[in-house]
């Protein structure tokens, strides 16, 4: 990952330049992303909104290094990662990104501790250090004493806290949250959002997909997607373009 000559501003942590994602659908082509250019500043809290099919999920997959752009560039922390291979993308996910999903996506047969330790396992941490870190993270998200439980023994809110702890294990720059409160009741959802807001105050860049405006209200900036392009941007600052 050498520094490309593309004009990326210093504190842009994520930047998409004329990004296209094209899916062949029979004879036709669907542009899930149709030429998106946007920058996300370091330490910001964004909500990506839009109806289904607007391209918000595709954008999350691209930013999360789970998918490739068909055209255009994705610059992550000043490095163009558009054309990296699967191994390099896995490495980026492992070191720089943390994922929080709507359906939590914990591994059911593993204990809370093992779930939180998962990224550390792939980072090659040893067992003792991993256990120590898992304990710290569990305490931080309010799950002390639950380390030995299996996910099925936890409530939805607790499961999402485990997922957040796991997303934080590798101390990522960016947290990607895909409808993190979608499977939770309102009160629990608010607690989770508070937790995310707190993490943002501590310096994490957070990009969250949602279709509820009261949830999006927790973010500093709201990006509205429609038909694969940016519809509008709300909030303070001037990151668009």
């Amino acid at each position: 990952m050498d520094n490309e000559s593309l004009p990326a501003r210093q504190n842009d942590i994520v930047r998409l330049e004329n990004a296209y994602k094209i899916y062949p659908m029979g004879a036709e082509q669907v542009n899930a992303l149709a030429g998106v250019t946007i920058s996300f500043k370091q330490g910001s809290f964004w909500a990506i909104m839009g109806p289904s099919g607007s391209g918000k999920s595709t954008m999350m997959n691209i930013i999360g290094c789970l998918d490739h752009l068909s055209k255009g560039h994705y610059i992550l922390q000043g490095h163009d990662v558009s054309n990296l291979d699967d191994n390099a993308l896995s490495d980026i996910r492992l070191k720089y990104l943390g994922f929080i999903f709507q359906s939590f996506n914990l591994i059911p047969q593993l204990t809370v501790q093992k779930n939180i330790e998962l990224p550390l396992y792939y980072l090659g941490w040893d067992a003792i250090e991993s256990a120590k870190r898992a304990k710290e993270l569990a305490a931080m998200v309010g799950l002390q004493g639950r380390l030995g439980h299996r996910p099925t023994e936890l409530s939805g809110g607790q499961m999402q806290r485990v997922a957040i702890a796991r997303a934080l294990a590798n101390d990522p720059q960016i947290l990607l949250a895909d409808e993190p409160t979608g499977n939770l009741d309102t009160a629990t959802g608010e607690q989770i959002l508070e937790l995310l807001a707190e993490l943002n105050r501590q310096g994490k860049t957070i990009i969250m997909v949602t279709h509820e405006s009261y949830i999006a209200a927790y973010a500093d900036k709201r990006l509205h997607m429609k038909d694969g392009v940016i519809d509008s941007i709300e909030g303070n600052g001037d990151e668009a373009k």
Binding site: L66, D91, F101
Partner: protein
């Protein structure tokens, strides 16, 4: 650090397998029986061939044995009244062989005569073997008491005999064996030694050493009993003149055995118009027996190998199902940053743990079966190191081979799709 990680990988694999104990156990059974049958069959095969090989080896791999046989013409003529059959090896043959072929280290002429032996009130029919002291060097038998024939016996034309253990027991019963006068035919011999009996059938070679043999100096045999044997048959009398029944030859080097056999054939062919002798080469028999054993092992091994293959397919089947079942887990691991290679390793370790464990249990089963066979049927079985290590190695490789495809399938899972998988 690397080592630690490998151990953790294995522990993770075992943990996952323990989540489905019954399924893992059933999957393992295929390999257990596969390895068990390979080990058992190899050891039974090895045991069966070992006995035959031992027998041939006793004849000496450096030895060549020439036996007198009645040619077909002679067989036909001997039915005629008062005809005398003259055939077989002669004293001249023996001297010629000993004198002309320089790869021969030593030779022993053998003359076989059936005679009744008596010792006081006990009597039995013996096979009298007239030979030289060289015989005892060529066909090694443990001496139980006294001594074997000596050169001085030949020189002094002493009427002495060496008995085999079995015959000695029957004739001498509890009496002091050595020094007893034994009457063979009409003459007395002094018993000077007892050697161990061996049942002497190996391949198609008759060893001149059956259970009731009496060894005497060959010159004495010739002088006392002559070369003509008369037998009463239904048609009247049958007379045969055979000078030597066998010549046992010791070749200086194993490499020269085959060429010596060829030279012997040429030499004898020149003086024998009829084919009234047969050359047996234990080495050739040994080679043949070993080839048979190899074939036997290959056949048994393949049958057992098929059951291993079936076991492997069972593992593959279950692992493919497991990959489908755990698609979401794979997606989570990939999203978190696991590389394809790491997913492959994870699943591969599970199958290898499964198949290796199956291999170890199967080894136990495979060792017990031959032991049971030997215990109940007294059939010999032999466990060789190869027979144990090979199936174990195969079971590990089966884990790798049959685990690879499901593991690659797992690694191919698209994390985006997998995360939506229910």
């Amino acid at each position: 650090m690397k080592q630690n990680r490998f151990v953790r990988n294995i522990l993770l694999g075992i943990e996952n397998l323990l989540l489905h104990k019954l399924r893992s156990f059933l999957t393992m059974l295929g390999v257990v029986f596969g390895v068990g049958s390979v080990v058992a069959m190899l050891s039974v095969g090895e045991g069966a061939s070992k006995e035959a090989l031992e027998q041939i080896r006793k004849l000496g791999s450096n030895n060549i044995i020439i036996s007198s046989i009645k040619s077909i013409d002679e067989e036909a003529a001997s039915t005629a009244h008062s005809h005398m059959s003259i055939y077989g090896l002669t004293y001249e043959d023996h001297d010629r062989i000993a004198g002309t072929i320089n790869t021969i280290k030593q030779t022993a002429p053998v003359k076989l005569i059936r005679k009744e032996a008596r010792l006081m009130s006990r009597a039995m029919e013996l096979r009298v073997v007239g030979t030289t002291p060289q015989w005892f060097e060529l066909v090694k038998r443990p001496v139980l008491a006294g001594r074997i024939l000596l050169d001085s016996d030949i020189r002094d034309k002493s009427a002495v005999t060496v008995l085999t253990e079995f015959g000695a027991r029957k004739l001498l019963a509890t009496e002091n064996t050595i020094g007893q006068p034994l009457r063979i035919g009409g003459d007395y011999f002094e018993v000077v030694g007892i050697i161990k009996s061996e049942s002497g059938q190996a391949g198609n070679i008759q060893i001149p050493d059956q259970q009731v043999d009496a060894y005497i100096p060959i010159d004495i045999a010739r002088k006392y009993f002559g070369d003509i044997v008369t037998r009463r048959t239904s048609g009247g009398r049958e007379r045969e003149l055979v000078e030597l029944h066998q010549i046992i030859i010791d070749v200086d080097n194993t490499d020269n055995v085959e060429s010596t056999a060829v030279a012997l054939e040429q030499l004898l062919n020149r003086f024998h118009k009829k084919k009234d002798y047969q050359i047996s080469v234990p080495l050739a028999l040994l080679k043949q027996a070993e080839a048979t054993k190899r074939t036997f092992n290959i056949v048994l091994g393949s049958i057992a190998g098929i059951s291993l293959l079936v076991g492997g397919i069972g593992i593959m089947n279950i692992m493919l199902a497991s990959v489908t079942e755990r698609t979401r887990e794979i997606g989570i691991r990939r999203a978190i940053g696991a590389k394809r290679k790491q997913i492959i390793v994870q699943f591969l370790i599970e199958t290898v743990v499964l198949s290796t464990l199956g291999g170890i249990v199967g080894l136990g089963v495979g060792v017990l079966i031959p032991m049971a066979i030997t215990y109940f049927t007294e059939m010999p079985t032999v466990l060789t190191l190869l027979g144990v290590l090979l199936p174990l190695l195969i079971s590990i490789s089966i884990g790798i081979i049959f685990g690879l495809y499901p593991a690659i399938n797992a690694a191919r899972v698209d994390p985006i799709v997998a995360l939506r998988h229910e």
